[in-house]
């Protein structure tokens, strides 16, 4: 299991290859990558991500440990960036390795659902019109009820 919180970009292909090499017993590897999306108006110049150093690492480790146990994973990876990112940049990735596909897919969704509203990150959108904190969505909170 690996959890990284970093400002620097990560290399998706390299991380995926390293993760896939790790476990011989896994029949299934799922990766998900989050990318900074432009807003509807196409005016987003940057996304700033603030986090709570210390708690972030702890929260992500707990979420990954839960996923490991619940879906009987062989391995799990979480990388989440903070700082200033521009549209098109990768914000984060999760990867899960399990014996079978269903567990690997479900674990990746579980990791995403939890890190969206239980890991201490806050996003701020910088546009030509000004700056605003991104509000949490009710549907993100509701997504946790599935688990």
């Amino acid at each position: 299991m690996r959890v990284l919180v970093q400002e620097a970009p990560f290399d998706l292909a390299e991380e995926t290859a390293r993760f896939a090499k790790g476990e011989g017993g896994s029949g299934a590897i799922v990766t998900f990558t989050g990318v900074v999306r432009d807003n509807g108006a196409g005016t987003l110049s940057a996304m700033e991500i603030e986090h709570y150093p210390g708690m972030t690492e702890k929260a992500l480790c707990e979420i990954a440990e839960q996923a490991m146990a619940r879906f009987e994973l062989q391995d799990a990876l979480v990388i989440h960036r903070y700082g200033r990112l521009v549209p098109g940049e990768q914000i984060m990735m999760v990867a899960s390795a399990a014996r079978h596909r269903r567990s690997a897919f479900e674990a990746a969704e579980f990791l995403m659902d939890y890190l969206k509203s239980r890991a201490p990150f806050w996003k701020r959108e910088i546009t030509a019109e000004g700056e605003a904190w991104v509000a949490a969505k009710d549907e993100d909170e509701a997504a946790l009820e599935r688990w």
Binding site: Y52, M55, I91, S117, P120, W122, A136
Partner: protein
């Protein structure tokens, strides 16, 4: 104890963290003390449904006890991913 603020809570209060001497036994009591300080605190803590709290880096509720707590953090609902 150390009290930390993040995102718009930090902006409204104007500080990322501060040392607070408090007799509060719960998070709710600490909030009452902070609200009484100045307008900017009253404003930041005016709607608790818009706030979350962590005690010693664990998410918790407003009625959580503070005995032995070293670090209390206030922030809006998280928006990771």
């Amino acid at each position: 104890m150390d009290v930390l603020y993040f995102a718009w809570v930090r902006e409204r209060i104007g500080l990322p963290r501060e040392q607070v001497e408090s007799q509060a036994t719960t998070v709710a009591e600490l909030i009452e003390e902070l609200r009484g300080r100045e307008e900017r605190y009253a404003l930041a803590f005016s709607d608790l449904t818009a706030l979350r709290v962590a005690v010693d880096q664990e998410l918790t509720d407003f009625d959580a006890p503070l005995q032995g707590a070293r670090e209390v953090a206030f922030f809006p609902p998280m928006t990771g991913g």
